[in-house]
Every structure is written in C-alpha cells, then in structure tokens.
C-alpha cells in the first residue's frame, strides 16, 4: 500500500523534474509527526526520482534531529561502588542522526564524504565524552549511519527513516544527495517537525507552566481515586 503510494508520488514528481532538467527531485511522506498518547515512534518515508538514471548514480539521505546538549558522566570505582565521578556537558550534536545510501556494485561511500559534520562513524577527532555521547545515542537507536536506501524502477528511490518514540521533539532536516560521476552532489532539502499535540501537549505545558497547580491536580486525582476505590470495594465484598 505504502509502496504504491510512493510510486504514485514519485511518478507525479518525476514529470516536473524531467521538465526542469533538475537531476533529481525528492519528497518526504509527512512534514509533521504528532506525539500523542499512543505514539510509539514512526517511520518517515523519503522518496524521489533522478532524471536520466545511470548505473553509477548514488543516492544518500541524511536526517538530523534538533541539537541537544547532554551530560556525559563517567563512572569510577570508589570504595567498591561505581560512582559517577566526571561529568561533561556535550553540546552541538544532533539529537537524532540517520544516514541511508543506495548500494550499487561499489562499496558505500564513507559517511564523511557525504557531509562534513557526520558524527556517527568518524569519531576519531572527538574527545572521549563526545565519543561516549555518540555511542550512547547509537544505543538508543538515535544514530545510524549504515542504512539502506533502495532503487526502484526507472530512477525512483526511497528510504524508510525509523524514528524511535524517544527521539527529541523539534525540527528535523532531511537532505537528499545525488552523487553522479565526480561532480559535487546535487542536494535537495526538506524538513519536518516532531511535536506533542493535543492532550499530551496540554499536559506537558500544564506540568511546566503551572507546576504547582499540576501537582495539586495530581494529588486530587490520587485522593479521589483512592477514596472511590475504598467506597466501591466496601460495597462489592
């Protein structure tokens, strides 16, 4: 179903692409991800088409989440107990990073050749805390640099970008690169937002803007349910 939809969209896009002589055109499946109470992560579909497809064309897609500062803490053993002893604030890393490329007969490009700021694999120039921050994000499924983008027929391509439930909220940028021969890549850019909406958003705002009332509200809820349960169960048994 999704595949079909992708084909239709690609078909619709390929015509203007060919007409304008742009080597590539692309799009994304949604420009807003709504975090609701049933949210459990989602998939973003990035798709597109190249004009005059050639055998050696390569497509690379990067997705970057909003930059988030994190605390990296290192444990050392103190009197037999593992304690956080050093802490460093690491900022400037995107909270989410994803890189997918198409695979042809040749090996995949090293991530550093696709974009200069790719963190996931090239950690050689980084400090130990920065490396730890990257590997921590990798473990949470926030950093991937070896995913696959697929070629479909007739110069169409697509990639699924999995967003875990805990991916940071904010603006994400998507860049699609077409590498053709030795020329610098053609790039197209998109962006989408991950946002709490509706009830969830109201709760979050409530908790942060009116924290005292929010706390009182939680307590009132607890007292009411506790009292209700006591009354109900006394009747039942």
């Amino acid at each position: 179903m999704r595949w079909l939809w992708c084909l239709v969209l690609c078909g619709w896009m390929i015509v203007p692409a060919l007409a304008s002589h742009a080597p590539m055109s692309s799009g994304i499946s949604q420009d807003e991800v709504s975090v609701t109470s049933t949210y459990n992560g989602t998939d973003i579909l990035v798709f597109g088409a190249v004009a005059d497809p050639a055998n050696r064309d390569r497509i690379a897609i990067t997705v970057r989440g909003p930059a988030e500062a994190v605390w990296v803490r290192r444990k050392t053993r103190v009197a037999g107990i593992w304690l956080n002893t050093e802490s460093t604030r690491v900022s400037g890393l995107p909270g989410y990073f994803y890189l997918a490329q198409t695979r042809g007969t040749e090996p995949p490009l090293p991530p550093g050749r696709i974009a200069a700021d790719i963190y996931a694999s090239d950690t050689s120039g980084m400090s130990a805390p920065q490396r730890a921050a990257v590997s921590g994000l990798q473990k949470k499924g926030m950093y991937t640099d070896n995913a696959l983008a697929e070629w479909l027929e007739g110069g169409l391509f697509r990639a699924h970008i999995p967003l875990p439930a805990s991916a940071p909220r904010g603006r994400y940028t998507v860049q699609v690169y077409l590498f053709r021969g030795d020329k610098p890549p053609a790039i197209s850019r998109h962006s989408f937002f991950v946002e709490q909406v509706g009830f969830e958003q109201r709760l979050y705002r409530f908790a942060h803007h009116l924290p005292l009332i929010y706390g009182l509200f939680t307590v009132a809820m607890a007292v009411l349910i506790g009292w209700l349960a006591a009354v109900l169960f006394r009747r039942r048994f």
């Binding site: 590997s135 439930a165 908790a207 005292l212």
Partner: protein, 302 residues
C-alpha cells in the same frame, strides 16, 4: 503508550501490572509499598526522578482507603498526626530541594540506590531475624515493652503536649523530628516511611500499635501528597499519565491483597516480606557493585 513527562513510550499493561502487584503486596503486608514501586519503575527504565516523584502519588491513593478505615475505627491520633505532618512538610520540602541538587550533580541514582540498599538491607535483615526467631519458638508472643509512665530522656524534653488517643503526654519535639526525617526520605526515595514510623512510634514513643499504624497512615497520606506537589513544582518530575495507571492498578491491588493477607499467618507474611525486601536490596546492591558494561552514561541536560 507515551508518557508526556518521562518522554518515553511504555507498555501500559506492564505499568498497570506493576501498580497492581505493588498494591497487592501493600494490602497483604500492610505497607505503603513505595520501597518496591520506585526500584521497580527504575528497573523498567523510567528515569529515577520520575520514578520517585510519581511513585509518591500512588502512595497517596493507596493510603487513602487505609486512613478512612482507621478514621472510622478512631485509631488515628490527629494531634500526633499533625505534629508528624508538620515535620514531614519541612522534610519533604528540603528533600525535594536536595533531590534537585543531587540530580544536578548527577549523583541522584547512586544516592537513591545506596540509601535503598542500606535501608532495605537493615529492615529486611531485622525482620528476617525476628521472624526466624518467632518461627523457632512457635509462639507469637508480643515483644517486651516497658510500660508507659517510665521516665527516659524523651520525657525530659520541653514543650509537652497531651496526645489523647495515643494516651501520651510527651514533648512535641520527637514526633516533629521524626516527621522531618520521614518527609526527607519520602521526597528523596519515594517511600512513605511507614516501616520507620510504626516501629519508632511503638517502641520509642510508646504509642499503642493500632494507633501507631493509623497515625502513620495519616502522616503518609499527607506527606506523600505534599511530596508530589513539591516534586511537581520544583523538579517537574511528576508524570500524571504514569501516576494514573499506577494508581488504578494500586487501589485495586490493595483490595485483593488485604483479602489474601487475612488468610495467611502473620509470621509467614513477615517472612515473605523480609525475603522480598532482601531480594530488592540484593538486586540494587549488585547494580552498583558489578562493573557496568558501559562506564559512560548519557542524560539530557535539562
């Protein structure tokens, strides 16, 4: 489902089961269950701040019915209760502040874990020893207590107040100090502190057992409620969705736990509880002693 404050996706059924299980145990053993709920939530991956702050709101709901029952039976000494609550409010306020500071330093997990190990290890071991001794003697004889009216240091303190239901005429200072300490524990560890309040009231203040239990529930109700408010206002760490599921599971669990508990022998109950407490302590101890797989931990900088 997605938790708005913890900002993570959890399985609603698992949380409901946790609430029910802890509620069941607290009904069965007559305990608050905070010391089980907080570590359980942490084992599941809920950030410690959210686990502690949200766990206390479940405590409020679960103790509510206990307080109502004891109120009807007139086994709450309100004057003593208010003295404890007054101390508890100060302790909880200080505790919420301490919590925020430790969180900022990145030491909150260690402090929580270590405190739990010490607290649960001690209480569990004491209970186990006492239970095994009782089992060996095959009798449930009451612990020897000195009769009221004996003069000890507690009776020499100033500001004496008459606590009618508790049949006491003592200084207001020890209950207030006890309240402060328990309030602090409540805010930092997410426990009600009944395991501490009840024995101290019985053995040190010489409060009759039924009144001690009723009054301690009264104190826990108010202090857990205050702690929830302080944590929400100061640390933004109360997750109302998580609280709702835990509370629903909890209040139902308690009712069934009470019924099962009534059918078991008191000594067997205490033995089970002691083993449970020691198991939690052992698991927590292992967490901080075993070399971690990753020496680095990454947390949000908020």
């Amino acid at each position: 489902m997605f938790l708005p404050i913890a900002e993570m996706s959890v399985h609603g059924g698992v949380i409901l089961a946790m609430g029910f299980g802890v509620g069941f145990l607290s009904g069965m053993f007559g305990i608050g269950g905070g010391f089980l709920l907080t570590p359980l939530l942490m084992f599941y991956g809920i950030p410690p701040a959210v686990a502690v702050a949200t766990g206390t709101s479940q405590l409020t709901a679960v103790t509510m019915s206990g307080v109502l029952t004891n109120w009807k039976r007139r086994t709450v000494d309100f004057r003593l209760g208010w003295a404890l609550v007054a101390g508890g409010a100060v302790g909880a306020l200080g505790g919420a502040g301490l919590f925020g500071w430790l969180q900022h330093l990145g030491q909150i997990e260690t402090v929580i874990t270590l405190s739990y190990v010490v607290m649960l290890g001690t209480v569990g071991a004491l209970m186990l020893i006492e239970t095994l001794r009782t089992l060996r003697c095959k009798t449930d004889d009451p612990v020897e207590t000195r009769g009221p009216g004996q003069h000890r240091w507690i009776h020499r303190l100033p500001l004496k107040v008459r606590f009618a239901e508790a049949r006491l005429y003592i200084s207001v200072i020890p209950p207030v100090l006890l309240g402060v300490f328990v309030g602090l524990l409540s805010a930092v560890l997410g426990v009600g502190g009944g395991f501490l309040l009840v024995p101290v009231m019985i053995y040190l203040l010489r409060v009759p057992t039924a009144i001690a239990i009723g009054t301690s529930l009264f104190q826990i109700l108010f202090v857990s409620a205050l702690t929830t408010v302080f944590q929400a206002a100061g640390n933004y760490s109360v997750d109302i969705m998580l609280a709702l599921i835990l509370i629903i599971g909890g209040v139902v669990g308690v009712q069934y736990g009470v019924r099962v508990g009534a059918r078991l022998r008191a000594v067997e109950l205490r033995l089970l509880l002691a083993l449970l407490v020691l198991a939690v302590a052992a698991k927590l101890l292992a967490d901080i002693i075993v070399t971690p797989a990753d020496l680095y931990s990454v947390t949000g900088a908020s």
